[in-house]
């Protein structure tokens, strides 16, 4: 079937210009569908084309794009995903994030595959989208509100069926790792997308849709959905997963010495049980919540005191063990605060962890912290820091810049213990024992993040893999998670955790769109996405160096001192070999710059031309 009557997509893009307070509706470009499929694919290509080199991430010329995929909203497990991207104010490079809930489906019900936000409003506004139309409303009354209150007010105003994305006070105050919050606790956009929206003075986006999503073969889709649900529910994991979700990972990480402790200095936490999924399940959890069209819901809704909060692994590890805190109630409260202020809890755990370490080393003093004893294990101190960061009060003003800038501020010694790749903080898997996972972080296209490759799971199962095997498996995994799942519009966890076959998604794509897809085709798209994003970074920097693809020094220099894997660290020589092999397998030169033939093979001649016109040499 030709691209002209392809289904699965709505075929329209909403482009909102805040400076002019106007919007236009464009046709979804066929070449984007053909070459980039959806989601992250659309975002990276459009940002590469439309942003100029050196654009101020917090200026009016940066653009925030929300993009869905061809399967978003359809009866397919986990089809509630939406990807959001822009140039990051934290890393200065490309960034995106995906979030569940039902914003993506609702955008398609409103008739759009994509929402592009450009320009900057003079005054606070929110964007309202309904069935092919858009309005920009004043948001004076919402500015300053915490995320849950803002979402509640907007839903009371426009109806509870609306999907709402908001930023919190952290986004308004341009905290560099402010994120967006949807559906009371679904977060996305770690490297500062909340701050970019804040700079544009967009407090929220409200979407309401009542249109049909076009589908090629609905009967077949339903058949596939039923088979998939049947398969998922009969897996061994199903029961534990729906009871504890990602929280099952706490004890697993600890047993394997990859649970971050004390700013990633250690990876074994004596009190891990106190912050485990079992404790959450027994004492705090009162119901499970799932995203749109998800038969394997993983949201742990917990109640404590007068608060309700959704808890998952990354948050508990980063704000718990990484800060040496074992009191689950304090951790839950911190998670609640980070959601309410709209701060990414992973980066937050890194920042506070680094601040605690600097305090214990005497680099930050009581005078800086306004009398707070910022030591590891002090939950009250950590809690106070969250507020200071969100409102940039006192030392919070420096901490709000992220660990890489904090390190610049306090001097070169500190950069050895600043845990980030390309300026984005490490998520909750320590890598002293996992060189492949370290490479996954350091080559992740948005800076350190686990979404592109949760490689540690493979690595721990096969510790004796050769360098070649390790790297080729990593690239395979990046291409599936960071390539395929980021653009088709579904959650990856059914594949990752339950082993739902990739063939399933091929069949679903065919039923949804009417076009033939193959694994090879999708891998090529993934490759294309990785190359475009890499070129985005190179264009921003004007050059590239191997050291930009290195993980934090700590993992090379300071072996673990506790736990069953005491003494472990990453061998630098081995890592360097892996990196060289990684570049080779990706078709990049020894400095990590894509070769001309690689880009040509992927049909990216326009990208070659663009880089050359900037004076960037390609091999």
């Amino acid at each position: 079937m030709s691209l002209d009557n392809i289904k699965g997509y709505c075929g329209k893009v909403l482009r909102v210009n805040l400076s002019k307070r106007k919007y236009v509706i464009e046709d979804l470009r066929k070449d984007l569908i053909e070459k980039f499929v959806g989601g992250r694919g659309f975002i990276c290509k459009i940002l590469f084309e439309e942003l100029y080199r050196g654009v101020d991430p917090l200026g009016p010329d940066n653009k925030v794009i929300f993009a869905t995929g061809p399967l978003t909203g359809l009866p397919i497990p986990g089809s509630g995903k939406c990807v959001v991207g822009c140039k990051s104010p934290e890393s200065g490079g490309y960034c995106d994030g995906n979030f569940g809930g039902y914003f993506g489906p609702m955008l398609k019900f409103a008739g759009f595959d994509m929402l592009i936000i450009e320009g900057r409003s003079e005054k606070p506004v929110y964007i309202y989208v309904e069935d092919g139309k858009c309005e920009i409303f004043d948001a004076y009354d919402l500015w300053g509100l915490k995320t849950s209150e803002c979402e509640r007010i907007l839903k009371e105003r426009h109806g509870y069926e609306c999907a709402v994305v908001t930023i919190g006070p952290a986004g308004e105050n341009l905290v560099k790792y402010a994120n967006i919050i949807h559906d009371f606790g679904r977060a996305g956009g770690r490297p500062g997308i909340g701050a970019v929206l804040g700079s544009k003075r967009v407090k929220a986006i409200v979407v309401k849709g009542s249109r049909d999503i076009p589908v090629h073969d609905l009967d077949r889709l339903i058949e596939l959905l039923k088979d998939a649900i049947n398969f998922l529910k009969n897996t061994q994991l199903y029961n534990t997963w729906t009871r504890q979700g990602t929280m099952i990972t706490v004890l697993w990480s600890n047993e394997n010495s990859c649970l971050p402790v004390h700013n990633f200095k250690e990876a074994y936490f004596e009190h891990a049980y106190k912050i485990s999924g079992d404790v959450i399940e027994k004492f705090l959890k009162y119901r499970t919540r799932g995203c749109y069209s998800c038969p394997t819901p993983c949201g742990n809704i917990c109640r404590f005191g007068k608060h309700v909060v959704e808890i998952d692994y990354e948050q508990v590890a980063m704000l718990g063990s990484n800060l040496g805190i074992d009191d689950i109630l304090s951790i839950a409260y911190m998670i609640k605060l980070s959601d309410e202020y709209g701060i990414d809890s992973i980066s937050l755990g890194n920042v506070i962890g680094l601040a605690m370490e600097l305090y214990e080393k005497g680099i930050i003093t009581k005078k800086d912290t306004e009398g707070i004893e910022l030591r590891f294990g002090n939950a009250e101190a950590a809690t106070r820091m969250i507020e200071m960061i969100a409102y940039r009060k006192g030392i919070g003003n420096i901490l709000a810049e992220g660990v890489s800038k904090i390190a610049e501020y306090y001097g070169p010694e500190v950069s050895k213990i600043a845990m980030h790749c390309k300026g984005v903080e490490i998520s909750a898997y320590d890598c002293h024992i996992a060189p492949g996972m370290a490479l996954a972080y350091s080559t992740s296209p948005i800076g350190a993040h686990h979404k592109d490759a949760w490689f540690i799971s493979i690595e721990l199962k096969n510790p004796s893999m050769s360098i070649e095997e390790r790297v080729s498996k990593l690239i395979w995994m990046q291409n599936i998670r960071g390539g395929i799942f980021e653009c088709i519009g579904t959650c990856r966890l059914q594949w990752v955790e339950f082993g739902l076959d990739l063939e399933f998604y091929i069949k679903a794509l065919k039923a949804a769109t009417g076009r033939e897809y193959s694994i090879e085709y999708l891998f090529e798209v993934a490759d294309r996405i990785y190359n475009v994003i890499r070129c985005f970074w190179i264009r921003e920097f004007g050059h590239w160096k191997r050291e930009y693809d290195y993980p934090p020094e700590r993992w090379f220099n300071e072996p673990l001192s506790r736990g069953p894997k005491a003494g472990s660290k990453i061998d630098r020589e081995m890592f360097d070999k892996m990196l060289t092999y990684y570049y080779r397998m990706r078709g990049w030169d020894d400095n990590g710059i894509p070769k001309v033939e690689t880009l040509k093979k992927l049909g990216l001649d326009d990208v070659i031309e663009n880089l050359r016109s900037m004076g960037i040499k390609l091999e």
Binding site: F109, F184, D212, I213, K226, R289, G290, C291, V308
Partner: protein, 135 residues
């Protein structure tokens, strides 16, 4: 009497029931064309999920207000006779549970018809929150 029973404490808010309802009844993917609705209410201190679906009342208010006898209570089910319906919307206003819905594309009100005794939402619900009671 046959009806749908919902245990909201088990509902995870995945909207799969709405999805299959719209597919079965209108042959389209559109959760706003569904006879069952999941609404998530969330405040700083609470999360509530409410599921709205026709309870097949034995003294149905919707049928009482319908001037055209388009809604009839028969064999324990409140049945909509589409031919008689003018789409005035009185039934939607009358339903004390807010379980009859309208959609701009569809002339008549949308309500649960129990899928001729084989409700699709019950089958798809991943947590067993929706139950069919046959009599």
């Amino acid at each position: 009497m046959p009806r749908i029973e919902i245990d909201v404490s088990k509902c995870v808010g995945c909207h799969l029931c709405e999805l299959v309802c719209s597919i079965y009844h209108f042959g389209t993917v559109n959760i706003s064309k569904s006879g069952i609705r999941v609404v998530v209410y969330f405040t700083a201190n609470n999360l509530d999920i409410i599921v709205k679906c026709c309870k097949q009342c034995d003294k149905p208010q919707c049928a009482r207000v319908c001037e055209y006898d388009a809604l009839v209570y028969k064999n324990g089910i409140v049945k909509l006779i589409v031919d008689r319906c003018t789409g005035c919307g009185d039934c939607i206003k009358a339903c004390p549970y807010g379980s009859i819905f309208k959609h701009p594309d569809i002339k008549f009100p949308i309500k649960c018809d129990l899928c001729n005794g084989d409700p699709k939402c019950v089958k798809i619900c991943p947590t067993g929150a929706i139950r069919y009671v046959s009599g």
